[in-house]
Amino acid sequence: MRKLLTFGTLLALLGGTNAYAAGYGSAGCGLGSMVFGNKPGIVQIFAATTNATFASQTFGITSGTSNCSESAVAAGPKVFIEANKEALAKDMSRGSGETIQNLSALAGCKDSALVASHLQRSFQSIAPTMQTNAFSESVLQALRNDKSLSCSKVG
């Protein structure tokens, strides 16, 4: 059998020491980028549907940030809360649900069931901010306030 160059070595070439990137934050990505715009808190008209980015159909995403430069995880809980606002509010009122499980992990909380019941209890105080830019902040504040949740990534 031929001796082949190893895959791992090749991969390593893609990386290397990161001198070049020193001083640069992450931004930009080649992947066409997303169209969520970058004005915090506004309802974005996001091309919905289909095979096509069909801009005449509207899909609102209240997105705290912008483009694909951020991954769901790297972007952190704030962006997640903004993008999933409607579904999250519903799950908060129900004291359970998928958005809370994902948020809980993203925010580095210990137990998503505890987070769910805490957010349900805090709903009255968070609800008034639903339609404002302060929504994500008030959710995060609720997570910070209860130390027993030990959420490690809520800023």
Binding site: M1, R2, K3, L4, L5, T6, F7, G8, T9, L11, L13, L14, G15, G16, T17, N18, Y20, Y24, A27, G28, C29, L31, G32, S33, M34, N38, A48, T49, T50, N51, A52, T53, A55, S56, T58, F59, G60, I61, C68, A72, V73, A74, A75, F80, N84, E86, A87, M92, S93, R94, G95, S96, E98, Q101, N102, A105, S112, Q120, R121, Q124
Partner: protein
Amino acid sequence: MATPRLAGLVRGAASRGLLRPAAEFVFSANALESSLIRFFFHSGRMALTVLAAWSLFAMPAHAASPTYADQLVARARTLDLANSRAWLALLHVKPSWWGKPASELAGADFFLSPNGATDPSAELEATVRAWFLPMPVTSAPLPGGVTPVDAPRDTTAVMDARGRYVAAAQHAICRFPARFLFLGQQLELDAATLPPVDCPAAQKFLERVQAQSITLVFSGYHLSAPASAFGHIFLRMNRNMDSGHGRSLELLDHAVDYSADADAGNAIAYAIKGLVGAYPGTFHAMPYYYKVREYNDFESRDLWEYDLNLPPDRLLLLLAHVWEVGWAYAPYYYLSGNCAYHIMALLDAVAPRLEASSGLGWPVLPVNSAKRLASIPGLLRQVRFRPSIRRQFEQRVAPMSSQERGWVSTLIDEPTQEITGIAPPRQAAVLDAAADLVDLRYARELVTDPEGKAGRLRQKILERRALLGIPSPELPQDVPINERPDKGHDTYRVGAGAAMAGQLHTRLEPGATLDFRLTMHDLADPPGGYPSLGQLEFLALRGTWLSHANRLHLDRADLVHVASLQAFDAFAPKPSWRFRVGVDQRIDRLCTDCVLGTAQASGGLTFANKSKMFSTFLMTDMLVQTGPRVAPWHFKVPVGAMVGPLFGFRWQLGNDVVLLASAAYRYAANASRGWTLGWEAKARWLVGHGVALGAEGTGADSVIQATGMAYLYF
């Protein structure tokens, strides 16, 4: 720093019994490193491992070696690598219809050679030589206010220390990592000869995606929106993060899709541009939660998730390749070069033996790509389902008592009404259903005017729900197996049969009927795999040769015939409708043997039982027809119009038999006025895989035709 070698990093995992047939080339390992490999792979976090591995490496700085590049190019020629299936697939080169192979992806930045799109060998040579170029140092600030989105396509935008976005040129290795991995491995590249290369942007990308596996996602048919009537296909790159519950933390995964960058023009311009390839289509990556919110919540479409077994080496190559195509585009063709085709081409690029993009037919239907993958032995791991908001609501309401349903209706009008007579846990269930109903009924208003009436209603319901302080149990998984899209009948159909036709009270003459339909499903077709009350037909032709008269009668020639029967639901009523454009040969007492261009539209209501196996519909039916034999009406325009009530039923017996009948009594309002009765009845029985038998009858006034048909779906 010495270079620790991780030989066969990937092969180690591939050899653990994951998919083999796809392996077109094999990565090697040696014994020394295998323990390391095992360590990494037993941790189950490949992408992380790879990233960790990267940081271990510092490339020794060797001078570029042109002679070595020459050697590699010569070796590639000897191996005829440029014509290998894997290399062609990575470049997306396909034989074009005029014979000369060409890449289906465009964009000067997708090729290093000026002739790269049509000359795979030139591209290979340019690629190999580019590896030995020193790391480019150019980075120019983008014009003021410009975001990374607008960075030149052959660069990557990074933020500098002052917070400005700068466009930084990338080294060929960073720009085309999948080509590098493939060629380098095939050419037995000695990595020590390469210049120091650093790929912060590509690295960041892999770090972000961190895929452990992939899933093909099909978003269900959306009959109300022509652009998405056939559904949509995209990939999800799974991080497989454990949630401690049933599903992993999928919302935080990445979706990769191919879609047209359409402008906001009107629907007709959009349709034409989409058909002729006037829009560029590009690949996008975004968090999966955007997709879930868009499809499940906003459009109320189900998502079917096909988890695939892709061996780790292929997966890694796929990630590297997804990075490559981020700069490319392809003209978007709604019927051929669409989401399904280009997503399959991505899979082919990294595992050509899958032939995922072959045999998709024309038009390329998203569902056919799911069928294609499901048919490859060992590729499909499991199929999962995410219900639309409508289905979630129905699931919540189904077990409710009539009293509880009453409360759901009341709350949606009077959200502050005190709920009496039911225990708090049931109150919670009622409020949960009401919240879903608000989302379902006011989907658009909630987006366009979140602070409006619908938004306030929603907020009140949620606040009340939270006050109960009871957690809602998760909705149990309720997968509509019968609708699993890849299990549906195939989308081409031909039929042949014997007919009797003629005037009812005189003699009937025998005839022979032929039927062809390009795509895809009608209300009488075998229902498995399709929404039971939806119809979507393109290019359907049927003719009957009548023996005595020795002439051909055109039964129908429909360009498009779409129907969406919406089972009436007092909670969220939706109208039923149907739309048809085609050519008819009419025989009734008002017009005999008139060949007419026809547009038909119907609207009304459908009532169905709970299982939707039986439904009846009542609609207003309207036809506008034109043709040489139509008497000129107003303004001497030869247009006829008919309008009248239409009534029908559909009865589905199991998954194999469907009965469908309808009758319309229409008033013709052109020169030859009067009422005319038209009816049709069909019984169809799925007798085996892809074969159905049918008995059908149609009539117009006293002219009738009865046909016995055999249909083949393929």
